[in-house]
């Protein structure tokens, strides 16, 4: 699988790492695949599971199938399995503050939060791999954790934190992460249209990224989608279609006449 990273949009999105799952767009005719980075995407591919970290004795939430993990410094509340980022946010014992976020988090990073409100901290453990759930997890008080905590402490949130979904985001959703070309595409008649196929695949990936990201992003920021241009409503009759001869009133007691 490809490497991936993401940029935080807001502190609450820091706990939705399933949105980091890169989209895969295949062009069936051209043996190409393009991985598009969807940093606005909020989609859980599986119900979130909750376990307990045996080392730090902390609650542990595993998100998505490319599991980033959120460790909570308090027992997780009982309840049904978390299914989306809103459930996750509701379950947090402490509110997330911008300083809990890192501007960039790579695979294997862990966000942890202490039990006291407002004392959350961001811990980076780059040695964790997102599919390796058997590796013993280091305690949060290691030297590396302290160093990373200090490094993350003074970091300001990414500029995109307060940026709404403007037209530039729509034009350029995400970052192109990976491009794969099958060996068979280099031989025969395929090679003549390989360049065009790459362009088509990249555009398709961006279009797909935009289509999937924008509604979620608008939802996240509480922004209403732009009204779609609709046809003339039925009650706006054109002048030619108005019936001036019959005496039918639209509604009894309408009060307009």
């Amino acid at each position: 699988m490809i490497g991936w990273h993401y940029e935080h949009l807001a502190d609450q999105t820091a706990v939705c790492p399933s949105m980091l799952i890169p989209d895969l767009v295949r062009t069936p005719e051209h043996d190409l695949s393009v991985h598009q980075h969807l940093h606005h995407r909020l989609r859980c591919t599986e119900p979130l599971t909750r376990t307990r970290d045996p080392v730090a004795n902390l609650g542990l939430i595993t998100v998505g199938d490319t599991a980033e993990q959120l460790r909570l410094g308090a027992p997780l509340p009982a309840g049904p399995c978390l299914r989306d980022h809103r459930d996750l946010r509701r379950s947090l014992p402490v509110p997330l503050a911008p300083r809990h976020c890192r501007s960039k988090v790579h695979a294997g990073h862990v966000l942890s939060f202490s039990a006291e409100p407002g004392v959350g901290e961001s811990v980076c453990t780059p040695s964790w791999r997102h599919h390796d759930r058997t590796t013993p997890r280091p305690a949060a008080s290691t030297a590396a954790s302290r160093r990373n905590r200090r490094a993350a402490g003074g970091r300001t949130p990414h500029r995109a934190l307060s940026r709404p979904a403007d037209h530039r985001d729509r034009d350029r959703p995400g970052k192109l992460l990976d491009l794969r070309i099958d060996d068979r595409a280099l031989h025969g008649a395929h090679v003549q249209k390989l360049g065009l196929s790459i362009v088509e695949a990249v555009r398709a990936a961006r279009t797909a990224a935009h289509a999937s990201a924008l509604p979620h992003l608008n939802d996240l920021f509480g922004k209403q989608p732009p009204p779609s241009p609709t046809t003339t409503p039925a009650d706006d009759e054109s002048f030619e279609e108005l019936d001036f001869l019959t005496d039918d009133k639209p509604e009894a007691g309408g009060g307009r006449w």
Partner: protein, 101 residues
């Protein structure tokens, strides 16, 4: 020069600066950019906003590549071209703002 004249010249200066920056922004967004793909594999072209326009591959050079290596070269060229357009736009805006000072 009385105060009205000073204000007039100041407004003219501001207008000139705004016009120069707007012109630079339009130019930066409309000029395409062509970059070579590594290993003489061809060129990639992006529009002024970094959108991919075309990938022209040298078929003879491509024949010596594997799919993975070609994909790596092309991907690098695309991302380089995208970032190069952003840098160019920024430089053009900075130059326009600086020249009118």
């Amino acid at each position: 020069m009385n105060s009205e004249e000073r204000l007039y010249h100041l407004a003219k200066e501001i207008d000139a600066r705004v016009a120069a920056v707007e012109h630079a922004a339009k130019t930066g967004e409309s000029l395409p950019l062509v970059l070579d793909i590594g290993a003489n594999l061809g060129t990639v072209a992006v529009d002024g906003l970094g959108g991919l326009v075309s990938v022209d591959l040298d078929q003879n050079a491509v024949a010596a590549q594997t799919g993975a290596s070609l994909a790596g070269h092309v991907l690098r060229a695309i991302t380089n071209a995208e970032s190069a357009t952003a840098t160019r736009r920024k430089n053009m805006l900075d130059d326009a703002a600086r020249e009118t000072r």
